[in-house]
């Protein structure tokens, strides 16, 4: 699975990254994390409030850091 975090280095983008890395370690998940910082690339997803979270091409959240339980649900949905 490929996870992309869309964001130009805002503090919430970093929080989201840390949260995902922590979940990965805690639950032994396997995914590749990509940070997308290029504005044009971010806009291709229609995202205007960072961070945006994209799981395997599907935009899941915009402008917030989702709760851990929410992230886990999405991760499970996508990896099936």
């Amino acid at each position: 699975m490929i996870i992309r975090i869309l964001g130009n280095g805002c503090s919430k983008c970093k929080t989201l990254e840390q949260r995902l890395v922590a979940l990965k370690q805690m639950h032994g998940l396997s995914f590749e994390l990509q940070m997308v910082t290029d504005l044009d690339e971010i806009l291709k997803y229609g995202v205007m409030m960072t961070p945006g979270l994209v799981l395997d091409g599907t935009l899941r959240s915009v402008g917030t850091v989702p709760r851990e339980s929410q992230l886990l649900t999405w991760l499970k949905e996508t990896s099936v």
């Binding site: 504005l39 806009l43 997803y45 229609g46 205007m48 409030m49 960072t50 709760r67």
Partner: protein
């Protein structure tokens, strides 16, 4: 960083302290003035203005449904709606200046076009709730309202002007996924959210009123209790936690810089000679407004620090007109933001935008100085 740069930096600091006249009147005086202003802010503005303002900004970030606002700035938006929405949306969408650029680029390249985008870019930082509230608390509400109204008018004029000049460059956008993923999961009624916001604003307003202290305390305790009751019993736990986290995030981001800015502002009052300021920007002339406008355009003010700096410049004799001008360009433009603008908008558009803003701000400040 190369090692020799580190070394020369250390050497400069060492020499500075070796030779500095640390017990001289200029150094002692400016340190004392900086500390005095810090104390003034800590006593008068932090609890009564900044703390409620941060909570209000936090609530806006969490509870206001942003997708509805953004949809009005999309590619299909009518111009007559897009412009006014763009000017006020800065206060709702962009609680922090770091969120402005993606929104601006989105509106410009995929949404309503260069005019509304430019209008949003200008008011975004200027119209931010905490900045307006602190301006009112420190410099008076005529200044806060003047700042708000002038920013809104200028942004519409500048946006229309740019849209006219670059009407051929403005490509027709037709992107279906504009503002994708913004559908919020906030299930509360508009009435509940409005009440929540108004109560918090009420706390801030009552703090500023000169009424009997028992009545004041009763009112504030009642309103704080009501806000807490809504947050705990009406709103879901996850949203309330999000509200607190958002507020804390803003506080962390803004307050340290503000304290540094306040200290510097206090020190400036002693170091900068009064006649220099009076001669340069003391009177409400075209020249002094132009000076204030250009200075503000290049100078970078961290969020909110413009307030203590302008407060002290006024104490040194800066006129009301140039002060408002400085408010207008100080937030909207800075050297770093100009560089980014050139990259995103293209050279011609960016230069036109910057010049328009500098000229319009100078005139707006002059008008404010004449009338009020």
């Amino acid at each position: 960083m190369k090692e020799w740069i580190k070394f020369s930096f250390l050497a400069v600091v060492f020499l500075l302290f070796y030779f500095a006249p640390v017990s001289g009147p200029a150094v002692v005086g400016s340190l004392a003035a900086g500390l005095a202003l810090l104390q003034e802010y800590a006593r008068l503005h932090v609890l009564t203005c900044l703390v409620p303002a941060f909570f209000i900004a936090g609530s806006i970030a969490v509870y206001i449904k942003k997708d509805a606002v953004l949809k009005l700035l999309g590619p299909a938006a009518k111009k007559i709606i897009a412009y006014p929405v763009a000017t006020v949306s800065g206060g709702i969408l962009a609680v922090c200046s770091c969120t402005i650029l993606p929104l601006f680029t989105g509106i410009y390249k995929r949404g309503a076009g260069i005019g509304p985008a430019a209008a949003f870019l200008f008011t975004g930082p200027a119209i931010n709730v905490t900045a307006i509230l602190l301006t009112g608390s420190v410099l008076g509400w005529d200044f806060a309202v003047g700042r708000l109204v002038a920013a809104m008018v200028i942004s519409i004029v500048a946006g229309l002007f740019l849209a006219f000049v670059f009407r051929e460059h403005d490509q027709k956008n037709s992107s279906a996924d504009f503002a994708a993923g913004m559908e919020s999961d906030i299930p509360y009624s508009n009435a509940a959210i409005s009440l929540f916001l108004i109560l918090q604003l009420g706390i801030l307003v009552v703090f500023g009123l000169g009424i009997d202290s028992t009545i004041k305390a009763t009112l504030i305790i009642t309103m704080v209790a009501a806000v807490l009751a809504i947050a705990v019993f009406k709103f879901r736990k996850e949203h309330t936690l999000e509200w607190i986290r958002e507020t804390w995030d803003l506080t962390k981001k803004i307050l340290p810089y503000l304290f540094v800015g306040v200290f510097i502002a206090g020190a400036i009052e002693v170091v900068v000679p009064q006649e220099f300021i009076t001669r340069l920007v003391g009177e409400n002339t075209l020249l002094s407004n132009a000076v204030a406008s250009t200075f503000g355009a290049f100078m970078y003010f961290a969020t909110l620090t413009e307030v203590p700096i302008i407060q002290k410049l006024m104490a040194l004799g800066m006129g009301r007109g140039p002060a408002l001008t400085l408010f207008l360009t100080g937030n909207a433009l800075s050297l770093p933001s100009m560089i980014v603008l050139f990259r995103v908008m293209g050279k011609k558009q960016a230069a036109a935008y910057i010049l328009t803003i500098i000229v319009l701000s100078a005139f707006a400040g002059m008008l404010f100085g004449e009338l009020l």
